[in-house]
Structure formats: structure tokens, C-alpha cells
Symmetry: C2
Subunit: 228 residues, 2 copies
């Protein structure tokens, strides 16, 4: 890789989605959910610094976990009220010499090292890369009243995951154009005119959005279907 790499692990927004601010500390395979994303990033030698973005109330707990895991090069930063604000906070925490940034949701504990490297390589080459998997369900668009307004041709649809990798200057430019974006960063860069490449994601790299998802993740781990 030709650039200096940093990573942002976003753990500040988890509370909103779970209705419980502490779910990144829920136990998965005997470890806190957050530990997986941290170890993934910290273990990748190409990454020189990791910004862990947490809600104010979780800062000390996050720092304790980083210490307990014996991870160096992880800085705990205070997030904002939105994902966008949190990622921007993470960017400010990274050393100025970082030119390429991997952004990863702590709520996706099962991303593999292989996936991370694939996205890093593509991001290094193209400036903006995100992992994507085929959509297996039939997708409809619905009206306000719940009736079908459109059936969407599934073959071109992809469900987008993290880690996502971007040139830092593109990210900063995109955030300065749309500071209140409510989307993932791939969508933000697309919206602000950058070309974003997709690389093959992993079906098992699920996002924990409900307690049921934890059960599913636990099953995938126990069955040896993921290596993390």
C-alpha cells in the first residue's frame, strides 16, 4: 500500500440502534462485541493508528477495554450525536500524516482480516472502496399506505457493509460539502461526486441491530463459519 493508513472504529451510534447504549459491550463468543472491530484494525500492520469513537458516557469503558486487550496505537475519541459527527470526530483524532482511512462499525464484529485487506487494497488503488454483497430477498418500494409502488430489479442491487476505505482528503471534502449527511460514508462520497468502487463483502459480516442478531452471530462463531 502506498499510503499511510488510519482506522476509525465507530461505536458511538450503537446505542441509538439497540435502544441500549451499552450493546457494543454485549458478550459475543466470550468477549465484548467491540473487541472484535478493535482487534481487527489493531492487528493489521498496515494500519498505523486507530481512532475509537465512543459516546461520552462510554469513554472510560472503551479505554479500559483497549487497555485490557493490550492494544497500542488506539486513541479513544468522543463521538457526536450522529454518525456523521462521530466519523468527523474520528478524523480529527487521526494523525495528520494519515492519508487513507478505513471506517468500520463496531456493530459488525464478524468482518474478517481477508475482507479488510481486500477493501484496503481497492481503496488504496481507487480512493474509495466499500464491501458489498448481493441482495437475496426480493425488494419492493412501497407507498405511504404500504402498497407496492415499484419492484426493483434485484440483480444490480448490493447491500453495503463496512469496513469502508477512503482517501482522507476526499472524505474531508465530502464532509465539508455535506456535514450533516445521514448515510454511510460510501453514499456520502457518491453524493458528493466521487467514484466509489465495490469489492466482494461477506454474508456473515452481519450488522448487529437487534438482540436476535447477537444469537445469529453467536451461532456463526460456534459453527466455525467465521474466523475472527
Amino acid at each position: 500500500l502506498s499510503q499511510t493508513l488510519g482506522a476509525i472504529v465507530v461505536a458511538a451510534g450503537g446505542g441509538l440502534r439497540f435502544g441500549d447504549a451499552d450493546k457494543v459491550f454485549a458478550t459475543l463468543g466470550g468477549q465484548p462485541v467491540l473487541a472484535y472491530a478493535l482487534r481487527l484494525m489493531a492487528a493489521e500492520r498496515a494500519i498505523s493508528a486507530v481512532a475509537l469513537v465512543m459516546g461520552q458516557h462510554n469513554l472510560s469503558r472503551g479505554a479500559e477495554l483497549v487497555a485490557a486487550l493490550g492494544l497500542r496505537d488506539v486513541v479513544v475519541c468522543t463521538g457526536g450525536a450522529t454518525r456523521s459527527a462521530s466519523v468527523q470526530a474520528g478524523l480529527r483524532c487521526l494523525d495528520p500524516d494519515v492519508t487513507l482511512v478505513a471506517i468500520h462499525d463496531a456493530a459488525r464484529p464478524l468482518a474478517s482480516v481477508g475482507l479488510l485487506r481486500r477493501v484496503l487494497r481497492a481503496g488504496d488503488e481507487t480512493g474509495a472502496a466499500v464491501p458489498a454483497v448481493a441482495v437475496t430477498d426480493t425488494i419492493y418500494e412501497v407507498d405511504d399506505d404500504g402498497s407496492i409502488s415499484n419492484v426493483i430489479e434485484r440483480s444490480r442491487l448490493r447491500a453495503i457493509q463496512t469496513p469502508q476505505v477512503f482517501r482522507r482528503d476526499w472524505l474531508e471534502q465530502a464532509f465539508s460539502t455535506l456535514p450533516d449527511a445521514t448515510t454511510d460514508e460510501g453514499s456520502l462520497l457518491h453524493a458528493t461526486g466521487y467514484a466509489v468502487e465495490t469489492v466482494p463483502g461477506e454474508r456473515q459480516n452481519l450488522k448487529l441491530t437487534s438482540p436476535d442478531d447477537l444469537v445469529v452471530a453467536e451461532a456463526l462463531l460456534s459453527a466455525g463459519l467465521v474466523q475472527v
Copy 2:
């Protein structure tokens, strides 16, 4: 319900998706996958007849399962090469007095009785109803080269499940217009001009499309997260 109800359980197409024609006989919670859809439909007193559509090579195995489960009112029918041909075969197997039809994929063993009744009620009222769940992933549309061409506004998207419930005459009309449809029947009815309503689906009502999905389904069953 004001109509005479029949059901079609589609088990003929499963082989294509699994790369193994016998995966509806894979074991889930100690029972063949197919047993779940059959019992769901046969146990619903409002449903007077069930057509089980199987591939030619599985007909006797299907009949044996029906007998072993002690189910009455289940007719085993030979499917076609496509989903559309199989559903049309199922329609021909149903008694002429059936006016409202529930169509269910055998590959969705975890649909609940509550879900079935919700769709039956809505289908009886409106003529066409399908279960739908919110899409939690960010969805992109991609070009041939894998770059993002469009970010789709997620709030109006729904992932569609079965059982789906339709007026029989609408279904037959739709199939006579588009006999080679490659979609689910809700999409077919929409494409041929009928209004199709969505009712709330169930996240755990997953479609088994890979061996990993069986592991997930087993976990949901063991954790008591589904009642089937």
C-alpha cells in the same frame, strides 16, 4: 374469512438455489425443513386444501413425509422447471372451489401462524397481500464494472417474504398474461396491474439459500426466538 382457502407449498425450486435438490429434506430442529411449511398450512383450519409442489424425483419422498406427519388434505403435485411453472402446477392441483390461495416457500420454515393469519386476513380483504420487512442494510445499485451508480433511499424499501395470499382469479389472470414470470407472485401481480398490499413480516422468517442459513435457523429455533 369470506372465501374458500387453498395453499401451495413450493418445494420444487429449492434444488436450484441450494445446488442440491434434497435440501428441503435437510434437518432443522430434528425435522425435515419441508415439514415446517406443511404443518403451518395444514394446521390452519381456514385452509381446506394444500398442494405440495415437488420435483419429479422427490415426489415419493414428499408423499412419505406427508404420510409420516399424518397430514390430511395435502396433495403432492409435480412442479415445473421454473418457479412460475411450479406455482401454476400447484394452482391446477387445487380444487376448483378454492378462491383464495396462500403461496409459501418450503425454504422459509420459520414463518409463524400469526404471520400466516395476518396475510390471510389482508389477502381476503384486498385480493393480494404479501409480508414485508424493513431493509436494514444500505442498498446501492451498481454498474457492470462494480462502481456505485445509485444509492437507494432505504426508508421506502421492503424485503418481501412468503406466505403471500392472492385471489385465485387474479393469479390465473396474471399467469395467463405473463406465463414465464421469473419473480415472486406479488411482483407478478404488480406487473400485471393489480394492487398488492404489504403486511408486517417477520425478521426471523428467513429464506434458506445456503448451508449457513440452516445454522442461523437452528440458532433461532434453539434460542426460542421463533415459535413454529
